[in-house]
């Protein structure tokens, strides 16, 4: 068993190409998913059942099934439907990158909505009552009191979700996308040197996860600079 160091150096440029795709997928899915999550959580906490129940079902489905299965439904499954294959949407759904982004975004939205809901429920009800007593409307209270505090409370759980999404991007390689994992699988298929290549890919993910974790810790410290 030999460990071939030069193989790692030779495959670095290709892994970096993969890193670019991983990063693009990651940032797009995280930002769009989080935006969608804000809309979802507003519906979820609504007292109107026709708003909250569909969102509950949506969250239940996406949190209860593996991302890989969701991805397969979207990428391999949707073309079975006539209106997708013949309609204008086909331009998007035949692109593997779009499908991976779509699946991850829907997934992020479901998990993040639930995290934000936890944050909103964690806001001290005394604060909300105080804002009401001050004559603030429901919208004002939500924007100026509930939302900022809820965001702060959600951050630790949200940072875990950020790491989970990073790890989930690796699944994109199952639908022919050459992200870091996809490139690594291709190189391993050519060279049959799994240790060298897969471990290099693993280090790339570890570094990314480390950067994300530290970034969030920084943000957390900044947000809570008034507390304690």
């Amino acid at each position: 068993m030999t460990f071939d160091g030069s193989l790692i150096i030779d495959s670095l440029p290709r892994l970096m190409d993969g890193l670019w795709i991983t990063l693009r997928l990651y940032v797009l899915a995280l930002t769009c998913g989080t935006t969608l999550a804000i809309a979802l959580v507003l519906m979820r906490i609504s007292s109107k059942k026709y708003l909250s129940w569909p969102v509950m079902g949506y969250i239940y489905f996406f949190r209860g099934t593996p991302i890989l299965v969701q991805l397969f439904i979207i990428y391999y499954g949707l073309p079975q439907l006539e209106f997708i294959r013949t309609g204008p949407l086909w331009t998007f759904f035949r692109e593997p990158f779009f499908c991976a982004w779509f699946a991850l975004t829907l997934n992020v939205a479901a998990y993040t909505a639930e995290i934000f809901r936890g944050g909103i429920l964690g806001v001290n009800s005394g604060l909300v009552e105080a804002s009401k007593a001050l004559g603030m409307t429901y919208t004002q209270t939500f924007r100026k009191v509930t939302a900022p505090i809820a965001f702060k409370l959600s951050l630790p759980a949200y940072s875990n979700e950020m790491i989970s999404v990073l790890k989930a991007t690796a699944l994109a390689s199952t639908v022919t996308i050459f992200d870091v994992t996809g490139v690594a699988r291709k190189i391993v298929a050519e060279t049959f040197a799994p240790y060298e290549i897969f471990l290099s890919a693993a280090i790339i993910y570890l570094v990314l996860a480390w950067v994300i974790q530290n970034g969030v810790r920084h943000l957390e410290r900044r947000i809570s600079r008034y507390a304690n």
Binding site: M1, L68, Y76, G77, P194
Partner: protein, 231 residues
């Protein structure tokens, strides 16, 4: 609908594979979790270092990549060893089922170390001191006091790990384990109804998740049965 009925036997067999994989991994997760938590709480700096390193690695690397490392890595090593005996051998691997169960258990096990560690820390120190004062040995304190107390505190977190574990079992279809996702892939090549087939897989997972959630609720109720009267 007819397609699902045609493949129902295969789906059932696939579900059995998934469930077996789940329980095999679960046993390993508990072992990793207890070992890791004990190491993290020990006085030995080396044990703490190893446990912390293990956690960082297994939580930072994508589950899917870890699975590939475990399966293909072990296959190459085994093949090389086998070739040194008999150069005729072309390929040798750990059965994908076991490689998959092992890889998944590493990931969830890493998360479980943290949950168990938190739960061990949550035990009232006075109880441990009282047990020691009563003359219980270290093993007795662990077996009769720490473990049952810890278990109760770890339940909510552990329930979430079980859900992640179940969902991670979908990944092993990539290395050829014949779970439900693999069944759907095969069915699709025959009947060209990928949407129906993969949606069926999703609903089987959803049903299994629901079973886990309900079971955990019951176990939690059982764990806190002594407080039932007080409530």
């Amino acid at each position: 609908m007819q397609e699902i009925i045609n493949w129902s036997d295969e789906f059932l067999a696939g579900a059995m594979v998934i469930i077996q994989l789940f329980f095999v991994s679960l046993l390993m997760v508990i072992v990793w979790g207890l070992l890791g938590a004990t190491a993290k709480l020990s006085n030995s700096r080396i044990a703490r270092g190893i446990a912390n390193g293990f956690t960082v690695l297994c939580r930072g690397i994508p589950e899917f990549l870890l699975l590939l490392i475990v399966y293909f890595g072990s296959a190459v090593t085994l093949t090389n060893i086998a070739r040194s005996w008999d150069p005729e051998i072309r390929f040798m691997d750990i059965p994908p089922f076991w490689a998959g169960a092992f890889a998944i258990s590493l990931v969830i096990g890493a998360y479980a170390t943290e949950t168990f560690r938190g739960a061990f820390l949550g035990i009232d120190k006075g109880l441990v001191e009282a047990a020691k004062a009563l003359g219980l040995t270290r093993f007795q304190v662990f077996w009769r006091l720490r473990l049952p107390m810890m278990w109760r505190l770890a339940l909510p977190g552990f329930g979430n790990h079980l859900l992640s574990l179940l969902k991670d079992t979908a990944l092993v279809s990539v290395i050829g384990v014949q779970g439900i996702l693999f069944t759907a892939q095969q069915a699709t090549t025959v009947n060209h109804k990928p949407f129906t087939m993969y949606l069926t897989v999703a609903f089987i997972f959803l049903a299994l998740s629901t079973v886990i959630v309900v079971t955990m609720k019951c176990i939690e109720k059982y764990a806190y049965r002594h407080l039932e009267a007080a409530r």
